[in-house]
Symmetry: C2
Subunit: 353 residues, 2 copies
DNA sequence: TTGAAAGCGATACCAC
DNA sequence: GTGGTATCGCTTTCAA
């Protein structure tokens, strides 16, 4: 058994209460006594038992909120599953996790959801916003009211959020570039596809891609001018078809946004499946199918389930054990998925929580 | 706040003790009363608070043992780091984790370590054995004595272990085959390298590789006869050099065992770096270097840190909350690592535990 | 400045 | 069969 506060109390000849106040700097303890207590605690390597702490510190109304914007998308549904998993675990420990799924891009709905959750008395908020700017002020506001905020999936840089958990899109782009170089012969032609031009995530994916290609001096890809497809499969289809006609020797397509289904359809219809290597993002239902039918060479996944699962726990640990996240940017693994190592089964933690 | 046993007691007009006995089928409660209690608990969705349970159920001498064989290898050192991380967390919760690192393949030392740990009074054991057969009897013995055993990294099939956590080597082999097909032009020559002929893990990696290649009917790799290098870099070096001379158009090497450093050295010395694609296993210090200098195309990683971290928790959850592992074979992710998505930084959980 | 005591939720033991 | 009570480790009143 690890050393307890009681033992320290006995060794120093004071009461548990005094030990507690001394070790947590709550004041009201004579300095020399406090010093002695700290010294003994140090020597014995005392660490407060988190189980005891949790038991006494869990308030009768421990509520956390989660808001997911664009909740209807396949990837967000995976995030959602992660949230549910956390909710179930936390519920047993006396924490209520309230989830609000917001469909689409309407910022107004998000602000309403925040207000609603605050009204319900949440002590912390995890939020996956589609746009940053309008939400920033709101996050800072919550911070002022001592409601910590964690962003997930998409960040709000510059805000007073506790931390962000999600993908390092720049590195994702680099990884895609590295794969392209490995998959294609030297000097191949590659088409980069983006979504909206002002989407930070997509831009980072593009920049990482371009930068890494430049640095890979042993390979010399010919980059076609990049095309915005606005996350739409029909546009992506048109673009792909058009480019394939104009550039019959096109060897690779890098899809930094959505639209991969349109791309794959066009590639297949022109009989170039497997000859044109397509790399896209996110392992979800539709992409898994595309992988399995060899339409996609591989997919770069951002571990959406883990994002949804861990974000509430980051809040919980912060509120319960004053544990600050290790970094303010927590990047999930960039998982390279092929049809052989892909699986949509729920990853189970089994680590106590 | 979630519903507590106390509330159920009040609603059913009995005491907390009776509720506890009824819900856990400990007997000594009138059937009708028990039924009523269970019904109310059901309606309210009662789940015993694991924090309360943990507090009262943690015995004064909660000790778990971990034994790692071949602990001197780079990958086992990563497993080891995971164990240490779990040990630190568990220590705070009143659990002592005792680690014994066994160098080399000597089974006798492992048996001694087991005996020592049992002598120290461990309530559960996690073990990463290098060989199965001699350990099987011992595991079954521990099981008889109510000491659950979890195998990690390498399994002991047929034993009475609670579960195994580690890599699905067959699937790893398949994944490697899939990558080879993507990386190499149709009809390329590939050399498969194995370690010891009787190493189950390596054999599974080979079988998965062969099977997947056979099924990839759109590609037609020419497989050279596979060579055993006994996990030694010097042998691997010789073999690679020899084959490269005999087969100047060799395009890929699949290293199912250790020896990748020898392989890469030979490839480089013959000026074929980047032209011959080399795929190996395990992301560790030396392999990370080989990735970074483009000697390895990619590595299939088995998440060694997670194995070491989760194995003790599987025991803890089993003993503390009667939680059986979800499956008896818990496969860690098959992570495809290139120089761009590799990192030896410790993955931190932050999920409470 | 300090100690004593209550209480968080669940379990186990001991009376009845 | 059942209820009361002590206990786990810690925090937080409330008295002194």
């Amino acid at each position: 058994m690890a050393v307890t506060a009681q033992q320290i109390a006995e060794l120093t000849g004071v009461s548990r209460g005094t030990v507690d106040r001394a070790l947590h700097n709550r004041g009201r303890v004579r300095p020399e006594v406090a010093a002695r207590i700290r010294q003994v605690a140090d020597e014995l390597g005392y660490r407060p038992n988190p189980i005891g702490q949790a038991l006494v510190k869990t308030p009768r109304d421990f509520r956390l909120g989660v808001i997911l914007q664009s909740a209807e998308t396949p990837t967000m549904q995976i995030v959602c599953a992660g949230v549910h998993h956390a909710a179930e675990e936390l519920r047993a420990s006396g924490v209520e996790l309230i989830l609000r799924e917001v469909t689409g891009l309407d910022t107004e709905l998000v602000l309403e959801a925040i207000e609603e959750l605050v009204g319900l008395g949440i002590q912390g908020l995890a939020i996956a916003p589609s746009t940053e700017s309008e939400i920033r002020h709101c996050i800072d506001d919550l911070h002022e009211h001592n409601i910590p905020v964690v962003t997930l999936n998409s960040d709000v840089p510059g805000s007073k959020r506790l931390c962000f958990i999600g993908m390092d899109n720049y590195r994702g782009g680099q990884t895609a570039a590295g794969l392209m170089c490995q998959l294609l012969p030297d000097g191949s032609k590659v088409l980069p596809l983006a979504g909206h031009l002002n989407n930070t995530a997509h831009n980072n994916r593009l920049n990482g891609f371009f930068d890494a290609l430049r640095q890979e001096t042993d390979y010399h890809m010919t980059l076609l001018p990049f095309q915005p497809c606005f996350d739409r499969d029909d546009y992506a289809y048109e673009i792909t078809q058009h480019v394939l006609r104009a550039e019959p020797d096109l060897a690779g397509i890098y899809v930094a946004s959505n639209g991969q289904q349109g791309v794959c359809q066009a590639v297949e219809e022109m009989g170039r499946k497997r000859l044109v290597k397509v790399i896209a993002f996110d392992l979800n239902e539709p992409n898994l199918r595309l992988l399995q039918q060899d339409s996609l060479s591989c997919v770069l996944d951002q571990e959406a389930f883990e994002q949804g699962y861990r974000a509430p726990y980051l809040l919980y640990e912060h509120l319960m054990h004053q544990k600050k996240p290790v970094q303010s940017l927590i990047y999930t693994d960039i998982a390279i998925r092929t049809k052989y190592n892909s699986d949509l089964a729920v990853p189970v933690s089994n680590t106590g929580h």
